[in-house]
């Protein structure tokens, strides 16, 4: 009995001490910290390991070159399994920094976790980066000062796809009378763009049908029979995980040409196309970050990290794949924000509030892209107080049976058209929450 009490009290002591150590931070180290809410197990592990692998490898590469102006980068991970509560716990655990190194920004790569930590980030003054996903109206930085849906928000994504289809048809006026079906994942993520595609349909006069695939989407016979009946010109695949290869296989079975299916930003990885085998040959998808290892920055990572045997990937063959390159792109943007903020606030470790300034003033032009060795991997990006997205352009790629081939230049979304909708939604949010939006004309 006493033995049991002893073990129990030892256990309790361990709880208290281990949780307390997290919050004690000594000042004075010359390091900038990145809290990583990663997911390496669970149903979405393929995305998590690739993205965070690329992110960490890029940070290692920066360190190998002496850090950012002498400030070394450091990071630690906390497993979220893509579960919201775990993500929140990780956020709270990591936000205070590591051994005195202050946190720069959080990158959960999960819509659910981003929603749940959105207000916390704002209160804690810690930028929340939702690259290529997240809450669309957080593009309006006057209402969401600490949230950055970098490069591409969901609305821009749809708009760019429609612009590409118009390009193929020979102009926006040629869209009239076309039939476009959106096959979407039955989740908040999947539904997010339905009103926008309907709006674009009205504007350009094409016929839009949206068809839901219930989660997880491993049976789509009836949906594709329905598509065969409609006989659309294009199918936009707004999938996630297992839904993507199943969609491609079922399309082949029902005789729909796979080269008229366009996958969205979460249907664009090797893991989405390869399992479908031959059925995926010719499948088109959008991307903001082409796969491949030819980019100078990736060659550099290969030299300093992969060849040195310190890569974070457990399978080095995934070097240069879509998720990995997204991680690298995300790393570049985070580090550039830190670098920019250092120019204003001094070459020391910075607080989240200072890094937020860096993100808000990011301006990556052609010359900078060349310096970074990321031409073609990353698009030009200019952020401001009112625009937290910046880019809004995508490239199109086609699966040739073994890998992705880029088949288009950057295609721009019609951001001017989307802006009023985003602002209206942001204003509604501000009103619900009692937020007074910043006056962006007064921000430097």
């Amino acid at each position: 009995m006493q033995q049991r009490f002893k073990t129990l009290s030892a256990l309790a002591a361990a709880v208290i001490s281990s949780t307390l150590t997290v919050n004690t931070a000594q000042a004075g180290s010359n390091e900038q910290y990145f809290p990583l809410q990663s997911y390496r197990i669970g149903p979405y592990a393929a995305g998590g390991t690739g993205f965070f692998g690329g992110f960490i490898d890029y940070l290692q590469n920066v360190n190998a070159k002496g850090g950012v102006n002498g400030v070394k980068l450091t990071w630690s991970e906390c497993e979220t399994e893509y579960i919201v509560e775990k993500g929140v716990e990780c956020y709270e655990r990591l936000k205070t920094g590591l051994n005195g190194a202050p946190a720069a920004a959080t990158n959960p790569l999960s819509v659910g976790i981003a929603y749940a930590t959105l207000e916390r980030s704002t209160n804690d003054k810690l930028p929340l980066i939702t690259i290529n996903h997240g809450r669309t109206d957080s593009t309006d930085g006057s209402v969401f000062p600490y949230v950055f849906p970098l490069q591409l928000n969901p609305y821009s994504e749809v708009s760019a796809i429609i612009n590409y289809i118009a390009q193929q048809a020979g102009g926006l006026d040629k869209l009239k009378g076309k039939k476009i079906v959106t096959l979407y994942h039955g989740s908040p993520y999947g539904q997010e763009t339905n009103p926008i595609i309907d709006l674009l349909a009205k504007k350009y006069g094409f016929e839009s049908t949206t068809i839901e695939v219930p989660h997880p989407g491993n049976e789509q016979q009836s949906q594709w029979l329905n598509i065969r009946r409609i006989q659309p010109d294009w199918v936009i695949l707004r999938g996630w995980g297992v839904m993507n290869p199943v969609a491609l296989k079922t399309a082949q079975k029902t005789g729909f040409p796979v080269d008229h299916i366009i996958g969205n930003i979460w249907s664009n990885s090797e893991e989405d196309a390869a399992p479908a085998g031959d059925a995926a040959k010719g499948f088109i998808s959008i991307t903001t970050h082409p796969s491949g290892t030819a980019f100078p920055v990736l060659q550099e990572i290969k030299k300093t990290v992969v060849d040195a045997g310190t890569t974070n990937l457990s399978d080095p063959k995934r070097f240069g794949t879509v998720y990995y390159n997204l991680g690298v792109v995300n790393g570049i943007l985070n580090v550039e924000a830190v670098r920019l903020a250092q120019e204003k606030f001094g070459k020391t470790p910075l607080t989240g509030e200072q890094v937020q300034w860096g993100f808000e003033h990011l301006n990556i032009d052609d010359a900078r892209l060349k310096d970074l060795g990321a031409e073609g991997l990353l698009q030009k990006l200019k952020l401001s107080c009112s625009d937290h997205e910046g880019g809004g352009a995508v490239r199109f790629q086609q699966w040739d049976g073994t890998q992705w081939k880029v088949i288009s230049d950057w295609v721009q979304a019609d951001r001017a058209l989307l802006r009023p909708i985003i602002e209206e939604s942001a204003q509604k949010y501000a009103k619900e929450k009692g937020i007074t939006p910043r006056d962006c004309s007064k921000e430097l």
Binding site: S18, T19, V22, E85, G112, Q191, E192, Y429
Partner: protein
């Protein structure tokens, strides 16, 4: 001695009916309340409030909701998360659509809506029993989730179906800080537990237990079976609804229908199985086990020195194996739950240092 309970005899009916009959219980409860309301807000950090204490309290409350239904009234249910969702969405809509309604009333209203839906899905309990009843509550789980996803009216037209919490202002005081949210949660949870403690000793509580132990015998004794069962569903739904509202508003600050899926229902079921069915303390113990232990394990693994020999993903999986192993261990050692374990400790302490 400090824990001697002998000789504390009730001399009047009033004394017999006290909430805590023993002096030790009374004092311990007082100390606990003091710790929770005064000491913890003073000592705790953001991390403790946001990541540990608030989810622990809310899940304890959800456990209580299910425990009244399953542990006390003997009706199995797998729809707990659905009723939490009703509570969360109803509270949100009340706040949104009835301006100037005080937050506390919205939360209570959310509980009432959840109670109503729970009663509706509890109607089949008039005819079916035991495991078959799970089917009805499982239907609630899927139907309600579908309802909130399908009709965007419930989430005020948000295209992604995600709702965010309104400002937590009550009587002019802003509860949005971590301590504020913790105190708000704690006050609601503590008062509901006090109500529940009274309830299970009341006539209704005894009816529930009679129905649980053998409903035919209960009917023969003149207990109205259907009314008793439906009241159990209603009360359980009410508490679950409030737990859902707290989960959405004081813990996460946002919620999507997917956050209240079948996994959450199972989680709540495990809380009461591990904690102890038909015990109020068990809800806290079970929630502590389910919420705190994984965090503890992950913290301990985080303390291990970083190395390249063991894959991080494998360590995460090892954590799950250890957690699963612990569940099996505890259920073998004490099938009646952690609450029973605590009771046994108390019984031993009572006669210590003697063995019998």
């Amino acid at each position: 001695m400090l824990f001697t309970e002998a000789g504390q005899l009730a001399t009047s009916y009033k004394a017999e009916q006290k909430l805590f009959r023993l002096r030790q219980d009374y004092v311990a409860f007082g100390i606990l309340l003091f710790l929770a309301f005064v000491a913890l807000p003073y000592w705790g950090s953001d991390y403790w409030f946001n990541a540990i204490l608030i989810p622990f309290l809310v899940l304890s409350l959800a456990g209580l909701g299910l425990n009244l239904l399953t542990g006390y009234a003997g009706q199995l249910s797998l729809g707990s998360a659905a009723f939490m969702a009703v509570g969360a969405f109803a509270t949100y809509n009340l706040e949104l659509r009835i301006p100037d309604l005080p937050l506390l009333f919205s939360i209570l209203g959310g509980g009432l809506f959840a109670a109503a839906s729970s009663v509706i899905f509890g109607l089949p309990s008039a005819r079916i029993k035991g495991f078959y009843l799970i089917v009805s509550t499982l239907a609630a789980q899927f139907f309600i989730q579908w309802l909130f996803t399908k009709f965007s009216w419930f989430s005020n037209g948000s295209t992604s179906g995600v709702i965010t919490a309104p400002p937590l202002v009550m009587a002019g005081y802003d509860f949005s800080t971590p301590v504020g949210r913790y105190l708000l949660t704690l006050s609601i949870v503590a008062s509901l537990f006090l109500i529940a403690r009274n309830l299970v000793r009341s006539e209704l509580g005894r009816h529930w237990m009679a129905v649980r132990d053998r409903d035919t015998a209960a009917a023969v004794m003149g207990i109205p079976i259907l009314k008793t069962k439906l009241l159990a569903f209603g009360m359980s739904g009410f508490i679950l609804g409030i737990a859902g509202a707290l989960w959405a508003f004081t813990y996460l600050g946002t919620v999507e229908p997917h956050g209240f899926d079948l996994t959450r229902s199972f989680q709540i079921l495990f809380i009461i199985i591990i904690g102890g069915m038909g015990s109020l303390l068990g809800n806290f113990l079970g929630a502590a086990f389910i919420v705190l232990l994984p965090i503890l394990l992950s913290q301990l693994i985080g303390l291990l020195p970083a190395n390249h020999w063991v894959d991080i993903g494998q360590l995460e999986n090892a954590q799950k194996i250890i957690f699963g192993g612990l569940i099996i261990f505890f259920l073998i050692k004490e099938p009646d739950g952690l609450a029973r374990l605590w009771q046994r400790c108390r019984e031993r302490a009572r006669i210590w240092p003697l063995r019998y």
